[in-house]
Amino acid sequence: MISNSLGDRMFRIGNAIALGLITLITAFPIYYVVVVSFTAPIEYIRKPLVLFPEEWSLASYRYLLSTSAFPKALGVSLFLATVGTACSLIVTSALAYALSRRRIYGRRTFQLLILFTILFSPGIIPHYILIRELHLINSLWSVILSSLTSGWYVILMRGFYDSLPEELDEAAAIDGCNDMTAFFRIVLPLSLPALAAFGLFFAVGYWNQFFNALLYLNDPDKWPIQVLLQNMLIDASGSSLGDVDPLIQPPPSETLKMAAVVIAIAPIIVVYPFLQKHFAKGAMVGSIKG
C-alpha cells in the first residue's frame, strides 16, 4: 500500500526535483551535440553558445555522407556488430551450456581456466604478436576473435543454464537427439531472453570497438566507425604549438564533428528501445537459481 502522508509526498517531490536536475545535467551534453550538428557552420563560429540555432542546416550531414570513408566505416561497424554478435552468441551459449551439464568431463578444470582469464590478461604486445602469428593482421577477424567472448558472460550464462533441468536432456535423448541437436533445437529456443540480453551487450561492444581495430587494421577501408570518429574529433595538431608539423591542414569544424558523433551513436540508440524488454528480463537471468 502506498501511504500518502505528508512526509511521503515531500519525499517524492524532493526526489523528483533532484532526479530531474541530474537528468538535465546528463542530457544537456547530448542535446548540445545534436543541436550543434544541425547548426549552420557560420552561425556556430559567431555565437559563443548555441542553445537553439537560428539557422537549421543539414550541411554537415550532407558533407559526411558524401565522403566515401564514412559510409564505408558504418558498413564495417555494422558487419562487426551483426556477424560478431552472432559468433559471440553461439560460442558463449555453447560453452555456457556445456559447462552447466554435470556430466561433462573435466568441468571443474574448465571453469577454473575460464576464471583465470578474467583475472589475468597478457597485455598489448603479446596479443599483437599472437594475432600476427595467426596471420590475422589487417583482417576483420582479428577484431572479432579478440572480443569473441568473455569469462564474465560465460559464467553468467552458465548460471542461467543451470536452471534448465537435466531431465530435459534425457527427454531429448529418448526422442533421439544427440547433444548438438538438443542444443540447437531445444535449449537455444528456451534461452531467448538470455540471448537477447547478452546479444545486446555484445552488439554494443562490437559497435564500440576502437583499440583493437586501431592496432590490427592497417587498411583505412577496414576501419570501423569509432576509429574514423577519433581521427576526426581529436585534433592531433592541438596538443602543443611547438611540436606541430608545419604541413598540417586545418581541422574539421565543430559542427562536422558533432554530426559525426550523432551518426555514430544513432544506430544503437534506435535499436535499444526494441530490445529493452528482453534486456531487463535477461539481465536478471543468471541470478535466480532453480
Binding site: I137, L215, P246
Partner: protein
C-alpha cells in the same frame, strides 16, 4: 547416451562441414594479410639476386615493393588507388604499400610495431630522441644512412645540413631527417587594424606588448561599443605554458627549456627573467587581459576566440593564418589579410625552428641492395615534377593551367589528401611556415619579408637532441610541478614568493642538478 545411427552420422557430418567451412574462411582472410606482412621478405629475394644498382631505377626490373608506415593528420588518409600515388609509383618503378596511421595514435602503433619486430621498410620516427628508438638504433636495428646518401644528389640537396646535424645519435644518422623550414616558428600575430584604431605602434618590447594588450581589452579596439575584446588569447596545459609560452620566452630570450649562458646550459626555471614574466602574467590575468579560463581552455577554443574577433593577439605561424582569415572574413567581408600582422621580434627575440620534424628510418631487415633501391626511389621522388604533385596534383584532375598560371582546385586536393604525402617526402620550402600560395600576392610578400627580418634575430632551441638519462624520467614530473605552480601564481592563488621558494629548493634537488650536469655534458659532446 542412445544415439540413432543415421541421425548421428548426419549431424556429425554437418558439424564437420561447418568446422571445415570456418577454417577455410579464416585461412582465406589470413591469406590476404599474409602476403602483405610477408611482402618485405618477398621483395628482398628478387633484389638480392639482381646485379649492383646505380642511382636511378631502371624500367626493365620488377618494381621495388616498399612498405611505408607514416602518420596523417586529416580525417581520412589518401586512398590506395590515389592518382598521385599511382603516378609516383610509375615514375620511381616502385609499388608502395603505405600504412597510414592517425597522428593521434601514432606513438602506440609505433611502439607495438617496434616490439613485434615486423618493421616496415620505411618507418616514420616522430621523435628520434625517444629512448625506445634510440636504444633500438644503438643496438643496430636501423641502417645508418649517412654513408649512402652522397650518391643521391636530389634528395641530399633537399635536406639542410642543420637537419642532419641535429638528428645525429652518437655521430650517426639512423634515418633520413624530414626537412622542415627552420624560420617562421609560431610567434605573436597582432590585429593591425585594432592597433590603427587606437593609434598604437607595433610593440617591440615586453612592456609595449603589455600596453597593447591592455588597450585591446579596455579601449574597444573593434569600435563596436561593446566590451567584448581581450588582449592575448592563450592557454596553458598540465605540463607546459603551451600558447602562453612565448610571452614568457620574450623575457629570457631562449626557445625551449634551456638557455646558453657563458657557455653553460641553465634551465630557464632558474632565471630571474622567468619570475618577471610570471609577475607580469599574473597582473595580466588580474586585469582581464588573458582569458579567464586560460587554465582549462583547449587550443581549438583559443583559436576560435581569435577567429571570432574576440582577441587581438595570438601565437601562431603566419602560414597557418588562412583559416583565421576565412573566419574573420565571414564576419567582415572587407577584412584585409594584412591586418593579421606577425611581429618580427619582441625584446630582440623570436623563435627559430629545429629544421626537421622526425626522421624516416630504414630497418636492418632490409637488405643493403634494397636500401639503395629505396634511396634511389626517394631521390627520384624528390625531383620537382613528382614532388610538386603533393601540393598541386595532376593537371586536369586537381588543377588547370589558365594563361600560364596554375589554378588549383583546393577542395579536390584536400579531398584526395595529397598533402599527406608530404609526411613521407618533403622538399623544404624555406618559406613554407610563413607563406602559403593561396594568400594574396601582397600578403605573401609581407610575410616573406617579415620572415627574413626575423631570421636575423631568431633563437633556436639549444636543447634539441640532447639526452639526459636522469632527465628522461625526472623531467616529466618536474614539468608538471613547475606548470602547476606557474598556473597558480598567474591565477593569483599563490604569491610570487612561492616561486622564489621553489627555485631556491632546486639548489638541493639532486635529480635537477644531475639533469643539468648531464645536459651540459651532452652539449659539449654534440
Amino acid at each position: 547416451m542412445i544415439r540413432e545411427g543415421k541421425r548421428g552420422k548426419r549431424s556429425s557430418s554437418l558439424l564437420l562441414a561447418v568446422v571445415l567451412l570456418l577454417a577455410a574462411l579464416l585461412s582465406a582472410c589470413g591469406g590476404g594479410s599474409n602476403s602483405i606482412s610477408g611482402g618485405s621478405q618477398q621483395g628482398n629475394a628478387p633484389n638480392a639476386s639482381s646485379n649492383s644498382q646505380q642511382g636511378s631505377p631502371s624500367a626493365d626490373e620488377p618494381p621495388t615493393e616498399i612498405r611505408i608506415m607514416v602518420h596523417f593528420f586529416g580525417a581520412t588518409p589518401p586512398a590506395s588507388d590515389n592518382a598521385v600515388k599511382l603516378k609516383i609509383e610509375e615514375a620511381t618503378n616502385t609499388k608502395l604499400d603505405i600504412q597510414w596511421v592517425s597522428a593521434n595514435n601514432y606513438k602506440e602503433k609505433f611502439n607495438v610495431t617496434l616490439a613485434s619486430g615486423d618493421i616496415p621498410d620505411l618507418i616514420l620516427v616522430t621523435d628520434p630522441f625517444d629512448p625506445v628508438f634510440r636504444r633500438a638504433a644503438e643496438q643496430g636495428a636501423f641502417w645508418d644512412v649517412s654513408p649512402y646518401i652522397d650518391e643521391y644528389s636530389y634528395m641530399k640537396e633537399t635536406i639542410a645540413p642543420i637537419a642532419w646535424d641535429m638528428t645525429k645519435i652518437n655521430g650517426k644518422n639512423y634515418g633520413l631527417p624530414r626537412p622542415r623550414p627552420s624560420e617562421g616558428e609560431a610567434f605573436f600575430i597582432v590585429r593591425k587594424d585594432w592597433l590603427d584604431n587606437l593609434g598604437l605602434s607595433v610593440p617591440e618590447t615586453a612592456e609595449q606588448l603589455y600596453e597593447v594588450m591592455k588597450a585591446f581589452t579596455t579601449q574597444d579596439p573593434d569600435k563596436n561599443s561593446k566590451d567584448d575584446t581581450i588582449g592575448l588569447a592563450g592557454q596553458v596545459d598540465g605540463s607546459s605554458m603551451s600558447t602562453l609560452a612565448e610571452f614568457e620566452r620574450i623575457f629570457y630570450q631562449a626557445y625551449g627549456n634551456w638557455k646558453l649562458q657563458d657557455g653553460q646550459l641553465v634551465h630557464v626555471v632558474t632565471l630571474p627573467e622567468t619570475r618577471e614574466a610570471l609577475v607580469m602574467l599574473a597582473q595580466a590575468y588580474a586585469e582581464g587581459l588573458i582569458p579567464l579560463d586560460f587554465a582549462s581552455m583547449k587550443l581549438s577554443q583559443v583559436k576560435d576566440m581569435f577567429k571570432a574577433g574576440q582577441a587581438g593577439i595570438i601565437v601562431e605561424k603566419s602560414g597557418a593564418l588562412q583559416e583565421y582569415y576565412d573566419a574573420l572574413k565571414k564576419i567582415d567581408p572587407n577584412f584585409d589579410m594584412k591586418n593579421l600582422l606577425p611581429l618580427t621580434s619582441v625584446n630582440g627575440y623570436n623563435p627559430k625552428g629545429p629544421g626537421f620534424s622526425g626522421v624516416i628510418a630504414i630497418p636492418k631487415s632490409v637488405s643493403e641492395d634494397k636500401l639503395k633501391k629505396i634511396l634511389a626511389a626517394l631521390d627520384r621522388w624528390s625531383q620537382d615534377d613528382l614532388f610538386l604533385m603533393h601540393s598541386q596534383g595532376i593537371e586536369g584532375i586537381h588543377h588547370t593551367v589558365q594563361d600560364g598560371k596554375i589554378v588549383i582546385d583546393t577542395e579536390k586536393v584536400t579531398a584526395d589528401g595529397l598533402g599527406e604525402f608530404n609526411q613521407i617526402l618533403y622538399v623544404a620550402d624555406p618559406y613554407a611556415s610563413t607563406v602559403k600560395r593561396t594568400f594574396p600576392e601582397d600578403v605573401q610578400e609581407l610575410y616573406a619579408s617579415i620572415q627574413d627580418e626575423r631570421a636575423k634575430t631568431s633563437v633556436a632551441n639549444v636543447g634539441t637532441g640532447l639526452y639526459s638519462e636522469t632527465g628522461a624520467t625526472f623531467m616529466q614530473e618536474f614539468n608538471k610541478t613547475v606548470q602547476d605552480l606557474k598556473t597558480k601564481i598567474i591565477l593569483g592563488v599563490e604569491p610570487i614568493e612561492a616561486w622564489d621558494a621553489f627555485v631556491a629548493s632546486l639548489d638541493s634537488n639532486e635529480s635537477f642538478k644531475k639533469t643539468t650536469a648531464e645536459m651540459n655534458e651532452a652539449y659539449k659532446n654534440r
